[in-house]
């Protein structure tokens, strides 16, 4: 901590959001109040920059709509009328209801629902796991993002950090695949630009013409969900044209001969028919990728969101090994550097406390689960939501709304605001913002641990999530001291300080500097797999994946540590193309009624639904937009700024048409994040998103979504 002026102090913080960049953030505090925030210019990765979401984080802290006291519902569910009650009253009510439910139906009638609304090790993903596992509640399978890609990645190269994001500056050929870096991973951009200044070529593969795409040397537009054909055709060309790094393949991979035979079918002509990309472009891409070393592929979270999304990532995880990209810094695949952090997941989840056999429910199915369309015995009788706003992020919005409206469902929501979900709660509990809590942040986009120190005391009666679960443990009579550790102790016990990657990193250092790079070689020399050493069962890149034999699975990290009741659906051991489920070829009858494919990417100024109730960010985003290509708009008599209704059998929402080149013919783009309460027709893109999973890791398939658009 340093002092700027006698009246203003600077507190070292960290951005709490579910974004790969995890910025080192400075809280400016005057007289006990955060008066501004600023990026920390000292941080080597985030370099003093924040973003359109967080530049004015103080407006979130002091937003007039913040929930600062426990609230009890007084009107019908969803109406949003509440009365203030005390914490004691709230906890007593929860205790009474849960004891009654457990007595009548058993603890699995309680469902926790949370994700990364804040992603610190103390208050984030795992904060409620030990409590709910001890309670014996239904285990939540939280495959919100990257679960499918992670399953594919781990099957192929193991849980390796992969390439250091900072080493991208040494890349000579960079492919951003399904990744809008300038909006969702912006602090990576300077490293890409440094590489380009040295002559690197940048390729963006994305159906959308994002700002990132227009900034690239080449933008390759694929039809949504067909990327797998492109990736497999690249493998085909690399093998057919003898561009394989034979030594690397012989020493550090398994299954090459079978892969080579398998991909013979995936010609550039085959891929051209699927993707809409010219076969010549595909050939050239494969040649350049293979021969311009070191080459790097950066994949975005949305890459998994179609029927074949998992197998697409399997193919992409094979490519760097085939061309020997791993040999040098700046080469390889960048997925989740999260795997570099020695997080003590077992101690955070405490899966050892789960009563054997406890059922697991995937959170994308919450609508069907609450309405009884998934037969559950016992049914879900209580829902506890924290770090999430399912009504906007989960698919099947209409069904979920019906489920949440159930009078017999006891719903508790811990939140900053009366979100769409919180409006359906019986009880709303006030949560602190990052300025009011202590946390330690991993990153899934760089290799720095970042400490967040509380800048101010909590507003009103808001509590950090960790304190919430201490209170709930007391309420439920859990006396084990593990459940009553203070935030500092949880924080200290969340990582393995003795791990080699923590060498030289101390709490004192984090408190003084705010961040620390994991003890790994510098990005200028770090080539983690130059000599192989992949953490797979064979120790090699598994082009033919031995883990496929066990069928489809979700990493326990995404399911409170549980490894029971895995999906187990057969998985091809070799990367295999699967076209979109909702497409002309796979479902012609559906495509006749709903001829347009819809994608719902992240908005520039919202983090999912976070900030969509802030005037500043709303003024930048405007209301819900629906980007269309002129050829599709003309056919429907739609002009720019017309109100349009987007619909399919699952539901509909209304937005403002924007006609242009942002999207390609046959594809509409509806950025997500707006709240139902402030949307026309009180519905958002989630109303028409499918509940079907991608092929691996129970990832969602939101980019595999056929719709029709008409003037509203």
């Amino acid at each position: 901590m340093s002092t700027a002026t006698p009246s203003e102090t600077t507190v070292l913080g960290a951005c709490p959001h579910d974004c790969p960049d995890t910025c080192s953030m400075l809280f400016k505090v005057r007289e006990g109040r955060v008066v501004g925030v600023q990026g920390n210019a000292e941080h080597p990765f985030t370099q003093g920059r924040l973003c359109a979401k967080t530049n004015h984080y103080q407006e979130r802290i002091y937003h007039p709509d913040r929930v600062l006291h426990p609230l009890r519902r007084v009107g019908p569910k969803g109406e949003g009328r509440f009365e203030r009650i005390s914490w004691d009253e709230a906890l007593t009510l929860i205790g009474e209801r849960w004891r009654s439910i457990i007595g009548q139906s058993g603890p699995t009638a309680i469902l926790p629902y949370g994700y990364l609304g804040t992603q610190g090790l103390v208050n984030g993903l795992t904060v409620g796991d030990a409590f709910f596992n001890k309670l014996g509640a239904t285990v939540s399978e939280r495959t919100f993002c990257d679960s499918g890609a992670s399953t594919a990645y781990v099957m192929t190269v193991g849980p390796t950090p992969g390439m250091d994001p900072e080493s991208l500056e040494h890349s000579r050929f960079i492919v951003l695949w399904a990744c809008n870096v300038l909006s969702t991973n912006a602090h990576l951009w300077p490293f890409i630009e440094r590489a380009r200044a040295k002559g690197a070529k940048l390729i963006v593969i994305d159906p959308a013409r994002t700002q990132t795409a227009t900034s690239a040397d080449q933008h390759i537009r694929v039809r949504p969900g067909t990327d797998g054909a492109l990736a497999l055709a690249m493998i085909h060309v690399v093998i057919a044209e003898g561009l394989v790094d034979r030594d690397y393949v012989r020493q550090h991979t398994v299954g090459y001969d079978e892969l080579a035979e398998h991909v013979a079918r995936y010609t550039p002509e085959f891929a051209a028919a699927e993707t809409g990309v010219d076969a010549g472009v595909i050939r050239q891409l494969a040649r350049d990728y293979a021969t311009t070393q070191p080459s790097a592929i950066r994949i975005g979270v949305a890459i998994e969101r179609s029927a074949g999304g998992g197998q697409l990532v399997r193919a992409l995880a094979c490519l760097p090994a085939l061309v020997g990209a791993w040999r040098r810094p700046g080469g390889g695949l960048l997925q989740l550097p999260l795997w570099a952090f020695p997080v003590k997941w077992d101690r955070l989840h405490r899966a050892d406390l789960i009563p054997p056999g406890t059922r697991v429910l995937n959170q994308w199915r919450i609508g069907a689960a609450l309405t009884g369309e998934i037969p559950l015995d016992p049914p879900i009788r209580s829902l506890f939501v924290y770090n999430s706003n399912p009504l906007v992020v989960a698919p099947d919005q209409l069904r979920l709304k019906r489920g949440l409206a159930r009078e017999d469902l006891f719903t508790v929501v811990s939140e900053h605001f009366l979100t769409d979900t919180a409006r359906y709660a019986d009880l709303v509990l006030p949560a602190t913002t990052q300025a009011e809590q202590h946390d330690l942040m991993f990153s899934w986009g760089h290799l720095y641990l970042t400490l967040n120190r509380p800048a101010i005391t909590p507003l009103g009666e808001a509590v950090p999530n960790a304190e919430l679960f201490r209170r709930l443990a007391t309420t439920m009579g859990i006396e084990d001291p593990f459940f009553h550790r203070d935030d500092q102790q949880i924080l200290r016990e969340s990582v393995d300080w003795d791990h080699p990657s923590m060498q030289g990193i101390t709490m004192e250092m984090l408190e003084a500097q705010g961040y620390a790079r994991l003890s790994l070689p510098s990005a200028d020399t770090f080539a983690p797999h130059a000599e192989g050493g992949f953490p797979t069962p064979s120790g090699k890149v598994e082009l033919k994946a031995s883990m496929a034999a066990g069928g489809n699975f979700v990493l326990p990290t995404f399911r409170q540590g549980s490894n029971e009741h895995q999906d187990g659906t057969p998985v091809p051991a070799l990367p295999t193309y699967r076209p979109p489920r909702e497409s002309r070829s796979a479902s012609p009858e559906l495509a006749a009624r709903y001829p347009l494919a819809m994608m719902s990417p992240k908005s520039h100024s919202f983090l999912n639904s976070t900030y969509a109730n802030h005037r500043r960010q709303l003024s930048r985003e405007g209301e819900q937009k629906v980007f269309m290509h002129a050829s599709d708009a003309d056919r429907r008599g739609i002009a720019s700024n017309d109100l349009v209704r987007v619909h399919n059998d699952r539901g509909s929402f209304v937005g403002v048409a924007k006609i242009g080149e942002e999207t390609m013919p046959g594809v509409i783009i509806a950025p997500m994040g707006h709240w139902m309460a402030s949307s026309r027709a009180e519905a958002t893109p989630a109303a028409i998103n499918p509940t079907a999973f991608a092929d691996l890791g129970c990832a969602p398939s939101f980019s595999d979504n056929l719709v029709e658009v008409s003037r509203a």
């Binding site: 600023q38 990026g39 210019a41 370099q47 003093g48 920059r49 924040l50 973003c51 359109a52 530049n55 004015h56 300038l182 909006s183 912006a186 602090h187 951009w189 300077p190 630009e193 700002q211 900034s215 520039h604 100024s605 005037r615 500043r616 003024s619 930048r620």
Partner: protein, 101 residues
């Protein structure tokens, strides 16, 4: 709404901002700079760097935010990118003092 360069830059042109901009969104005449709103990503790194607080989120400019965005947009179309720090104008210090910074 994106960030804009305001009239504070006129006769100053400190150009410290261009050094921290990750996307080269600054354009300039001989007298001042502008931000191309189509390129700026709102990282705000330039805001605390400017000695005369010439850069602002247009949301914070009462009333004339839209006009300033348009001015910045229009001038960015006409003027070249400025991506290297240059000496401030000779009038910069006097302007800074006059502005009270």
């Amino acid at each position: 709404m994106p960030h804009v360069v305001t009239d504070h830059c006129q006769d100053c042109r400190y150009t410290k901002c261009v050094d921290v901009c990750p996307v080269d969104c600054f354009h300039g005449s001989a007298e001042r700079l502008y931000i191309d709103p189509e390129v700026c990503i709102d990282c705000a790194a330039c805001v605390p760097i400017c000695p005369v607080k010439a850069i602002s989120d247009s949301f914070d400019l009462d009333g004339d935010g839209d006009a300033l965005v348009e001015l910045n947009r229009r001038m960015s179309l006409e003027l070249p990118v400025v991506d290297a720090v240059a000496e401030p104008l000779p009038t910069a210090e006097a302007k800074r003092v006059a502005l009270g910074y």
